[in-house]
């Protein structure tokens, strides 16, 4: 090692700012290796992400995730029919889950006793008159896609609740009815199903 007092003089950088000068000391090796590592990684990353497309892009990942969501939705709908909805409505766990959802989301319009009534915007769900069809699948369609009457009716709930919770809350409503009684009830409009396009009023 050279004389500690003078060994740096030749490393002094020429520029001067406000009388402050700077030594050209070497950076610590661990720092340099971290830096070089980051540079190399960024090149690999850039290449594999943008050119080689070895890594998945965000777009593909989102598309894949959305496809999975859609798949789950279709799978859930696939099982939905008048029969399966009736089965669900006789399952105590399902109905209890539906009741909890109903108390949070639905009472505001349909009332705690499901009868709606004065001051409440919803329709009565326990009388013998149905607005969009006297079938479980019609009720399910209205909850999922919203009322065909987009101007004043109920909105779609599927984004908020997801298909499973929709079937639970429908099961809760159906638990107040029987198959025979619902078939005998009147409907104000032709029964709709999940594929019925919305109508403007």
């Amino acid at each position: 090692m050279s004389d500690p007092k003078n060994n740096q003089d030749d490393h002094l950088r020429p520029h001067v700012y406000d009388g402050i000068q700077e030594y050209d000391n070497r950076l610590p090796n661990w720092w340099l290796w971290t830096f070089y590592g980051a540079v190399i990684l960024s090149v690999i990353y850039w290449f594999s992400f943008y050119d080689a497309q070895i890594m998945e892009s965000d777009t593909t990942r989102i598309d894949e995730a959305m496809a999975k969501v859609e798949e789950a939705r279709l799978a859930a709908i696939g099982e939905i029919s008048n029969d399966t909805l009736w089965q669900m409505s006789r399952n105590p766990g399902f109905v209890a889950a539906g009741e909890a959802i109903f108390k949070e989301k639905c009472v505001a319009c349909h009332g705690p006793d499901l009868k709606a009534g004065p001051g409440l915007a919803g329709v009565n769900l326990v009388d013998d008159e149905w607005k969009w069809g006297n079938q479980p699948i019609s009720v399910y369609s209205v909850v999922t896609n919203g009322s065909p009457d987009k101007m004043s009716g109920m909105q779609s709930w599927v984004n908020e609740l997801g298909p499973q919770k929709v079937s639970q809350v429908v099961a809760f409503v159906l638990s107040h009815h029987t198959e025979q009684e619902m078939a005998d009830a009147t409907t104000l409009n032709p029964p709709i199903n999940l594929k019925t396009p919305p109508v403007a009023k």
Partner: protein, 474 residues
């Protein structure tokens, strides 16, 4: 070019060699009053770090940052994700406090309370000292070829370091998950909670790397606080300082021309960052007071007064009294009290309940034959440790149109930490509607007399259009 020993200078960092490689520091043993008090403070602090997640306050641990459920328990106050804005006042308050302390006492935090110093000086370096011996012995061991005894010492040391790093990582994790949950995870297979396991592995390796190898590099190169120093301190700040007036020129005890410093280099040998404090205040100095104890011991031996290296300000060294009242101290004190005041006010607004009102996704309004309808979602959170009963209503005072609301017929009871997002429907008769207006939603929670008011906009179609349509189809 690897030097075995080095003379510190002001132009380079001792721990970084000219070729960029690391120069390992082996601080010599030091004894004295500051070392003793620092050790006591460190043990107390370690006790506090370990115990905070165990001490219950208001039914929850004193510090429990429950990231999973987004509930943050701090000494009896519970915060939800919705209270995040408080973080700004908390952090700025902490920054002001640090500025304040630094302006008066310099890097007292670094030397006495920083977890890096606490664990490094009082845990890891103690173990190293126990296994590998004192500073000359450690230097000799570093230089020696790898033999079975050296290998044994190294494996033993790093093994214990790894175990300690694991323990510290678990203490760290216990701030974020409950103690029973942590215990459950410790006893079950890592596969069942691989994310937490991965977190522990990474944290352990970082802690181990830091305390076994990186050490003072963190303080010198990475920690931003050290870099702020020159902006935070002034001539009246207390630092670990060498009294150059009294000590210089250094020389032998017998030399009558020399100052009080006998040039024994004890202060250099004990320094954990490898500086010579006699060259003045430096960026690397973490204010650990090792050199103060070392010098006092020597001064006692040569029968000279203690305090050649002591807590002193630059002005003090020039022979004047340290000024406590100065523009910087007045400004920082003002800022500190402002910060405490604002943070105190902000935290006093935190209720045991959270209420938020937002418009429901979908159509902004609905028009029926009789009414205009708006739908909102009211998010309620109970942050109390007992059940809270919520009621939600419309503040009718000041409204010119009749409104009806539904969704909260009775009280909504939420258990502790429960969160609900309920539908709230507001209707205005069609003929009474005169255009959009502001609506105040009143949320009350009992017990505790909590009242929260949230304002939303009631929207609808152009009233003129509505009237014409009504006339067209009566």
């Amino acid at each position: 070019m690897k030097a075995k020993s080095k003379l510190p200078n002001l132009d380079t960092v001792t721990t970084i060699n000219e070729d960029g490689s690391r120069f390992n520091i082996h601080p010599a043993d030091v004894r004295g009053r500051f070392t003793r008090w620092r050790r006591i403070a460190a043990l107390l602090l370690i006790g506090v770090y370990i115990l905070l997640p165990w001490i219950p306050v208001n039914g929850y641990p004193a510090v429990f940052l429950d990231v999973l459920h987004r509930r943050f328990h701090l000494f009896g106050i519970t915060l939800a994700a919705q209270d995040l804005w408080l973080l700004f006042f908390f952090l700025s308050g902490m920054a002001f406090l640090l500025f304040y302390i630094t302006a008066f006492l310099g890097r007292v935090w670094c030397g006495w309370a920083c977890p890096q110093t606490v664990f490094l000086e009082h845990v890891f370096r103690r173990i190293e000292r126990f296994i590998e011996g004192d500073a000359p012995a450690r230097r000799k061991l570093d230089a020696a070829p790898m033999t079975p005894p050296k290998l044994f010492k190294r494996v033993l040391k790093h093994g214990i370091f790894l175990i300690l790093a694991t323990i510290i990582a678990h203490i760290f994790l216990s701030y974020f998950i409950s103690i029973p949950q942590l215990w459950e995870w410790i006893r079950t297979s890592p596969v069942e909670h691989w994310k937490a396991f991965f977190f522990i592995i990474i944290t352990t390796l970082l802690l181990y790397g830091n305390f076994a190898w990186f050490r003072e590099q963190l303080c010198i190169v990475i920690c931003p606080y050290g870099r702020f120093q020159s902006a935070l301190i002034d001539d009246d700040t207390l630092n670990v300082a060498y009294d150059y007036g009294r000590g210089n020129p250094p020389g032998s005890v017998k030399n009558p021309e020399a100052g009080d410093c006998i040039d024994c280099r004890r202060c250099v040998q004990v320094c954990p960052t490898g500086i010579d404090i006699r060259q003045g205040l430096q960026l690397e100095c973490i204010g650990c007071a090792n050199c103060m104890d070392a010098c006092d011991e020597i001064m006692d031996k040569v029968k000279r007064p203690r305090g050649l290296i002591r807590y002193a300000s630059e002005r003090n060294l020039e022979g004047f009294k340290t000024r406590l009242l100065r523009p910087r101290s007045i400004l920082y004190t003002g800022l500190l009290f402002l910060g405490i005041g604002v943070a105190g006010f902000a935290f006093s607004t935190v209720d045991k309940a959270v209420a938020m009102a937002t418009r429901m996704p979908g159509a902004p309004f609905y028009v029926t034959d009789t009414h205009i309808r708006n739908q909102y979602q009211i998010r309620l959170i109970n942050k109390d440790s007992r059940d809270l009963s919520f009621s939600v209503s419309i503040q009718a005072n000041g409204l010119t149109v009749p409104v009806e609301s539904s969704g909260f017929a009775g009280a909504e009871i939420l258990s502790p930490m429960e969160e609900k997002n309920n539908t709230f429907v507001v209707q205005v008769p069609r003929e009474a509607y005169e255009g959009p207006f502001a609506l105040k939603i009143l949320v009350e929670a009992e017990p505790g007399d909590i009242e929260l008011e949230r304002e939303v906009e009631f929207l609808g179609p152009d009233p003129e259009l509505l009237r014409r349509q009504s006339q067209a189809n009566p």
